[in-house]
């Protein structure tokens, strides 16, 4: 796989995944996936259904446990595999600390229904980081203003539209001040007219140079916002290139037919 950090060699890589392998039952879902992401990269992961995009993302922050591979986040090793093929993660406290550098937004939002919008956002900073409530609220309100939902501060999630829920989910993830944001099809559960508001928030985040890894079927987002595009098929990355190149002339025939199909 070509490294994606070509023009950013002076920066240490933000995330380095090497030869990730994962199977469910007898099915090999990731067959050796490698990817390197530099600070500020916005990487769109595209590919057909069942190709392992979600599994790849979930392996990065330990929602799934790897069978084999190496994972390095901001220079810190998260998991490594020895010569005998045994995959080891760092001890639990380090594991949790390193995984916290990655925020995640899910297709199904997964907001906490018993908490108001504001409470959803301040829960983790207070409980996990031990910050004072008073210190967290102004920052939470600022995040809410950014995603355009300050007026929904005291609403419960069930009162929000899908697009609003997803924007709260983004604000909630950002409240933990992650260095990398992972998105798994953030707009796929939304009515078409609501995807725009979520994509706008994501685009804004990209403009602020957040490092992002986005599994998406939104080809417009992949083309206009992402810096790099990764095409996955059958548990492998077939192609990983700067976005403009990828759309101008995809080199792999499978990528080409997928893009033709999607555009």
């Amino acid at each position: 796989m070509p490294s994606m950090t070509s023009d950013l060699a002076s920066h240490p890589s933000m995330l380095e995944a090497r030869d990730l392998r994962k199977h469910f039952g007898g099915v090999e879902v990731l067959k050796g996936v490698s990817l390197e992401i530099a600070r500020g990269d916005v990487v769109a992961v595209i590919g057909p259904s069942g190709s392992g995009k979600s599994t790849f993302l979930r392996c990065l922050n330990h929602l799934e446990t790897l069978d084999a591979g190496h994972l390095v986040v901001e220079g810190e090793t998260l998991a490594s595999t020895d010569a005998a093929g045994i995959c080891r993660y760092v001890p639990e406290p380090d594991l949790r600390r390193i995984c916290r550098k990655m925020g995640m937004v899910f297709q199904q939002f997964n907001l906490f229904p018993h908490l108001t919008v504001l409470q959803n956002i301040i829960e983790a900073p207070i409980t996990v980081k031990g910050l004072a409530r008073d210190a967290v609220i102004p920052r939470a309100e600022e995040l809410l203003r950014k995603v355009g939902l300050l007026d929904k501060r005291d609403s419960y999630p069930s009162r929000l539209s899908g697009g609003q829920k997803q924007r709260v989910a983004i604000a909630r993830a950002l409240a933990m001040e992650p260095d990398i944001m992972l998105f798994d099809e953030p707009t796929s559960a939304l009515d078409p007219e609501l995807t725009g508001e979520v994509l706008r928030s994501m685009r804004q985040l990209a403009e602020e140079h957040m490092t992002m890894l986005v599994v998406t079927h939104e080809m417009n987002f992949a083309r206009d916002v992402s810096t790099h595009v990764v095409f996955m098929d059958q548990g492998q990355i077939l192609e990983a290139r700067p976005a403009a190149e990828m759309f101008a002339n995809p080199s792999h025939p499978r990528t080409r037919s997928f893009l033709e199909h999607m555009l």
Partner: protein, 217 residues
């Protein structure tokens, strides 16, 4: 009417016994049931299996049998054998029995919360304990209110079983007067007392359900 007022005294004393058994059981069995449920859903296979066995035993045999066993047979069991006076024996039996029922209610409540809630908590950095305390259990409370309401109403009525240990609860007090005065009036009054207690419970749970209705799933 004068007669009713006359028998009110002993019936109220019986009610006090009934309420004591009820309240002490509730206060002890709810946390114990929660603890059992948490072990039951934990990844510790052996502990979880032991709890399942315990729940099966407690729900699979009559409460009255358990109470008689603890009072009459426990003193002769080697090692753990102790002789308990009637009231503590009844409380132990009720708590052990009801904890099993509450554990099942908590367990089904915990397992009804979707996996997405755990994953969202996890990626935000919450530990398993924090996830349970801050995210899962608060949602479980809302979900288990209806079955808990049922179970506590059953408990109020089950307290009448302590008559087998010759304790003077509401029903036994009523029966004593019936046998003495050859009138069924005390049963009617006792029935009214039970109805009032279950009514208060029903209202209490309705109030809680209303409070939790501020959010939907």
């Amino acid at each position: 009417m004068n007669y009713v007022i006359e028998i009110l005294g002993p019936l109220l004393e019986g009610t006090a016994v009934t309420l004591q058994v009820f309240l002490i059981t509730l206060v002890l069995a709810v946390p114990l049931g929660l603890g059992l449920a948490l072990i039951r859903v934990s990844p510790f296979r052996i502990a979880s299996g032991i709890v399942s066995g315990y729940i099966w035993l407690m729900r699979g045999t009559p409460l009255m049998l358990q109470m008689l066993f603890i009072y009459f047979a426990l003193p002769f069991v080697p090692v753990i054998g102790v002789r308990l006076p009637d009231f503590p024996a009844a409380i132990v039996a009720f708590v052990l029995n009801y904890a099993a029922y509450f554990a099942e209610i908590f367990r089904s409540g915990i397992q009804s919360v979707g996996k997405g809630q755990y994953e969202a908590s996890r990626v935000l950095g919450l530990s398993y304990g924090q996830t349970m305390r801050r995210i899962i259990l608060p949602q479980v409370v809302k979900r288990i209110l209806p079955p808990m309401s049922n179970e506590t109403i059953t408990l109020i009525k089950d307290t009448s079983l302590i008559y087998v240990l010759a304790m003077n609860d509401l029903l036994r007090a009523a029966r004593g007067i019936v046998q003495r005065d050859f009138t069924t009036m005390p049963f009617v009054v006792a029935g009214a007392f039970y109805l009032i207690m279950t009514l208060v419970l029903t209202w209490g749970f309705l109030y809680l359900e209303k409070r939790y209705a501020v959010y939907d799933e």
